[in-house]
């Protein structure tokens, strides 16, 4: 027992008691799921046609990566390195959509948030377009852009933009008037007010918007790739399912989830910690 005790103390010192607790509690459902999965492989409650064994999912990685040589092959859309090709294809579109969509949504949101007239002008049309969920645009996008990257990019951009637009607009409207007044009385310009008051003041909403945009956008992208794409993880899942390669479908789903969890934890959560938590703008658990 003393070995376990020492180990536990060493671990607690290294990562901290609270974090260790959170980490252990959070992984219990996953462990449970994996055990259930392994038990199914053993007792075969459901045939491997429906639920593949973990071993076959593991092997699917190598089947998909067959004939993979060099970095170029890993990215190029050909019949080699299918897994990495599709991963890079999806991630690339997420990055592109984020780089274009986030600043655009924030910019229009700030403009609409600071100008009552303009927001009356833009809000109804925004609600009109936002009422149609992201994926409902897929058929129309296919008509406009055909099957391919343009359609998937459009779907994701459309989802990201409106979420950021609305969140930023509401955030800017909620910024206390006195902050703006204090910058104006120090001789600040409109631009100073935008960059030094509206954007940091709306940061709690903007970050919520980013997290939502990444969540919904990522899901919309997968759906768009399934129906209107010619590459990406959604496309991979869809084509694999059509060929009854159930282990590839499982692999795809697992990869998608891992990428999404990693983006949230290692990009969006630190961003939140670095800005609004440091500024005391959110309730912080002690």
């Amino acid at each position: 027992m003393s070995i376990f005790n020492d180990l536990s103390i060493a671990l607690q010192r290294k990562i901290g008691r609270q974090r260790l607790r959170k980490w252990i509690l959070g992984s219990i459902p996953f462990i449970f799921l994996i055990i259930l999965w392994e038990m199914n492989s053993y007792f075969v409650w459901l045939e491997p046609v429906y639920i593949p064994t973990s071993g076959s999912v593991w092997e699917a990685i190598f089947t998909l990566q067959e004939g993979c040589e060099g970095v170029a092959a890993a990215v190029a859309l050909d019949n080699s390195c299918l897994m990495t090709t599709h991963i890079f294809s999806s991630i690339g579109r997420v990055i592109l959509a984020a780089v274009v969509g986030l600043p655009l949504g924030i910019a229009f949101g700030v403009i609409a948030g600071m100008n009552r007239t303009l927001s009356k002008f833009l809000e109804p049309i925004g609600i009109f377009f936002n009422s149609i969920s992201g994926i409902a645009w897929i058929p129309l996008a296919i008509v406009w852009f055909g099957i391919g990257w343009q359609t998937t990019l459009f779907i994701m951009l459309n989802t990201i933009f409106w979420l950021l637009f609305f969140n930023t607009m509401l955030g800017v409207r909620g910024v206390a008037k006195v902050f703006e007044q204090s910058v104006l009385t120090m001789g600040g310009s409109r631009w100073d007010v935008i960059t030094q008051v509206y954007i940091p003041g709306a940061m709690p909403s903007i970050i919520t918007g980013c997290r939502m945009a990444m969540g919904f956008g990522w899901r919309a992208l997968i759906a768009a790739e399934m129906i209107g794409g010619d590459s990406g993880l959604g496309f991979m899942i869809f084509t694999s399912a059509a060929e009854f390669k159930i282990e590839e479908v499982f692999l795809g789903v697992i990869i998608i989830s891992i990428i999404f969890m990693a983006t949230d934890r290692y990009l969006l959560v630190p961003m939140e910690r670095w800005t609004i938590q440091r500024w005391g703008l959110v309730w912080k658990p002690t």
Binding site: S182, T185, M186, S189, W279, L281
Partner: protein, 263 residues
């Protein structure tokens, strides 16, 4: 002494936010403030004293009358008129240092010079050791010290203060009032201080302006001839020069409050 700020025949109406009815906030206000003078404005709540301050700050456009600073009509806010707001007006996303240096940053003062000036004012308001803290890590009194330093650091001609100590606890308020006196001696700024506290108005000002209830008119101006160096709470409460002036102001303010109640 030259005239720093001049208000002539200032009358102001504004539409009520809910009913839309026209509210008569200020009626024919005349006030002349000398350079380096400390003026307090006191009156019953809703008398229009904050409206006056907002007009002076340039945050509220006015249509009837004339307001000039150094002979120039004011149109909108300007860095020559610094404002210290009630509370929560320093930016939560800036540290104490960056809040205090904000005015200089807006003006494009180089960082080295800015840091130098900021350090001076951090010292003046007694915030040494808290330079890199964010506002949420400060007490109410420290936040207002930061707010005062921020306005002073931008070096305005006139400092407008809108009940800046109303939200801090009584002990801190007394300290802040004494510090403000000390700062006013050190910086020789022209200060207009809005308050609803008669004690505060009498303690701080060279001249105390008493407002009538709405529509706000200047009911009386009381001179408090006590050298600023002598203004320390420990002495003032027993000083008849102070207590008599305070009672005079209190009487004038209470007349307005009681008239309101009789109606």
């Amino acid at each position: 002494m030259p005239e720093k700020l001049l208000v002539e025949n200032l009358t102001h109406h504004y539409p009520d936010e809910y009913t839309g009815e026209s509210v008569h906030a200020l009626d024919d206000v005349d006030l002349s403030v000398q350079e380096g003078e400390f003026i307090s404005v006191v009156g019953p709540s809703g008398c229009g004293k904050s409206t006056l301050l907002n007009i002076l700050a340039g945050l509220l456009p006015y249509h009837v009358g004339k307001v000039t600073v150094d002979g120039h009509m004011i149109h909108g806010p300007g860095p020559e008129r610094g404002v210290v707001f009630q509370e929560h007006a320093i930016l939560p996303w800036r540290t104490v240092n960056r809040n205090i240096g904000h005015g200089l940053e807006i003006r494009g003062v180089p960082k080295a010079e800015r840091d130098n000036r900021v350090a001076q004012f951090v010292d003046l308001v007694g915030l040494t050791g808290f330079e890199d803290k964010y506002p949420h890590e400060l007490s109410g009194g420290m936040k207002q010290r930061t707010a005062v330093a921020r306005t002073l650091c931008a070096d305005p001609e006139v400092m407008l203060m809108d009940e800046p100590f109303a939200a801090v606890d009584a002990q801190t308020r007394i300290t802040l009032q004494e510090e403000l006196i000390r700062i006013s001696i050190a910086t020789k700024k022209t200060i207009i201080f809005i308050t609803h506290s008669v004690d505060e108005a009498a303690f701080l000002a060279d001249r105390c302006v008493i407002f009538s209830r709405r529509p706000g008119r200047i009911k009386a101006i009381v001179d408090v001839d006590i050298p600023r160096e002598e203004r320390i709470w420990g002495n003032m409460n027993a000083d008849t020069r102070f207590t008599s002036k305070r009672d005079e102001i209190l009487h004038l303010v209470r007349e307005e409050v009681s008239v309101e109640h009789e109606e």
